[in-house]
Symmetry: C2
Subunit: 338 residues, 2 copies
DNA sequence: GTGAAAGCGCTAACAG
DNA sequence: CTGTTAGCGCTTTCAC
């Protein structure tokens, strides 16, 4: 009994389902996309056919026709950084719940391969875009604006955002940490920073504020991005000879801070008497290590959620508004290291 | 001077470029995809027009027509885990270099929302797929095989892989750690494991081997996935009273191990004399903490690279072969905690 | 080396 | 509530 050619290599398409259910292709489309506009019986019959044939709608074709890809592209430097990992998680979750798929791209810290990357992403016609704070060159910026899609930039408060923004001022973070140290009577400061634009901004903000307050910078080290514990240890080892008196150290990441603390203790430095240390990021490590150390907390997860909501609001048709540019608050969590 | 309508909201398409360059659309397509088949002069003229108009080819349309999306979908449980973060990085890099974009999906550890997720991904017609070890139900498995695309499963050696495989046997890892401890004369064992399938497999492998070797399990704790340092500390705090004699602890992750060690030292336990600890993952923390602790190293980055190469080979037209299923080696890195 | 015709599989828009 | 028509923007295929 031959029966109908099962397992035909040709994938089943909407016309196959329509034929099987005895309806027009458009009706199948409606059952999938706007079930309310189809009678219950018809819908049931169509669904049965979809199930039986194992139909998986071709979203590529649908997207071309409807001019909506139901896809959002996101560019972040890395996901090795807990902050970005968390941010991407919440961003992705929020969008998936709304029926959007996220196309993630990792740009790295090194070469700003933005132009090619942005081009490749835009070619897939995402309905919206998330960018991690970066100074886009003129060409990239033009492509971005001509795409006519909602764009949210995160992580940094750009002077001149393309569209929406969820970030904070890294210089201010550094300044706040300097003020925190000064309030504790510190006058000798040191920094260890990863060599990435935002980390350097925080470090400069710290140094400027420290100097303006009459303090002195006794040492500063810049390590390769992304940050590692080992880099923190090495930097601390180099700085050690300069720590001849009570010193306050700001690290651009909790990983560096943990490394610095580890190395400092190994050499018998008393924390926080001789060396006070503040990190950045509030990674789990900063609170779970023994003893816990002081750090700057920034709402990474919340940033992802807000960015997603901004995009979704626009995708739902709402117009741009003033409140589309927000500062994410940060705060210093004081723990045993200061 | 009005000039041609600049900034027209309609995005520029291939016909616009063709008209501007005085050629047929097909020629523009060739300049982009198969430049060798176009004369140098024509190509130059077309490229100038592309540049001037800011043309970004619509890959959705191209994909529909060519039936190749130049996109690879990947499903991993999380990227908060350094192993997966690294794996995703190398996988993504390798594919991007070959001109493929990776569409990443995070499935989480909790509810296996596989069916819906797989359906959504397959709807975008990826050219290939990466799956993180999971037992797919019959429906998912059918969709997967009927997609007729290369699939690589990672992280776990499935009994019955769908197609290609790059993983290792988690039970064997646990057994190897037990053997390692036994060789050091241990007879009392304990475990702390995250509640995820693979972690539990490693833990069971450890316990079985330990018992078979005549040892005894004095305590075992299961914590929520994903692992955290704090969970390791809490679990250790619970286990402490049972550590009345020389004990060997296996943690399903370095995060748990670090937490356990931190807590144990805080309570004055001597490591490794009273308590020996082995983690899993070789996160930077295990080697950079002071003192460093013993762990199991698995080549995460290499797994991502191999998975990518497997897929690329198939995408290049090569047939399936025996060597498409490989075991990733693992090894125990002995450090101060054992 | 270049062009013309014919779709890819779906949905918007309009009828009925 | 359901169907018909006409594309979406590209590439395949076949001519020239």
């Amino acid at each position: 009994m031959p029966g109908p050619a099962r397992n035909a290599r040709a994938p089943v398409k909407i016309t196959d389902v329509a034929a099987a259910a005895g309806v027009a292709p458009m009706t199948v489309s409606r059952v999938i996309n706007t079930p309310d506009r189809v009678s219950a019986e018809t819908a049931a019959r169509v669904r049965e056919a979809i199930e039986r044939l194992g139909y998986v709608p071709n979203l590529i074709a649908g997207g071309l026709s409807s001019r909506r890809s139901r896809m959002v592209a996101a560019i972040v430097p890395t996901i090795a950084h807990p902050m970005f990992a968390g941010l991407v998680q919440t961003f992705t979750d929020a969008l998936r719940q709304a029926g959007y798929q996220v196309m993630l791209s990792l740009s790295g810290y090194e070469e700003p391969e933005q132009p090619g990357l942005i081009r490749a992403l835009l070619g897939r016609r995402p309905d919206a875009l998330l960018l991690t704070g970066a100074d886009h060159d003129a060409g990239a910026r033009q492509m971005l604006t001509e795409a006519h899609i909602p764009i949210v930039e995160i992580w940094d408060v750009s002077k001149d955002p393309i569209d929406m923004l969820v970030g904070f001022d890294h210089t201010q973070v550094g300044a706040a940490v300097a003020a925190f140290f000064r309030a504790k009577g510190h006058t000798r400061f040191a920094t260890v920073s990863a060599n990435d634009p935002r980390a350097l901004e925080r470090t400069e903000g710290f140094q400027d504020a420290a100097l303006r307050g009459g303090g002195q910078i006794i040492a500063s080290r810049v390590t390769a991005a992304p940050s590692t514990i080992m880099a923190g240890r090495s930097a601390m080892a180099e700085i050690l000879p300069m720590v001849t008196d009570r010193t306050a150290l700001f690290c651009s990441s909790d990983l560096l801070a943990f490394g610095a603390l580890t190395e400092a203790r190994l050499h018998g430095l008393r924390v926080p008497d001789q060396l006070a240390v503040c990190g950045f990021g509030n990674f789990e490590l900063s609170g779970a290590a023994e003893p816990p150390f002081t750090t700057v907390h920034v709402e990474g997860a919340e940033t992802g959620r807000m960015a997603a909501n901004f995009l979704l609001r626009r995708l739902a048709g709402e117009p741009a508004r003033d409140t589309d540019r927000v500062q994410v608050p940060f705060r210093i969590l004081e723990r045993g290291s200061t």
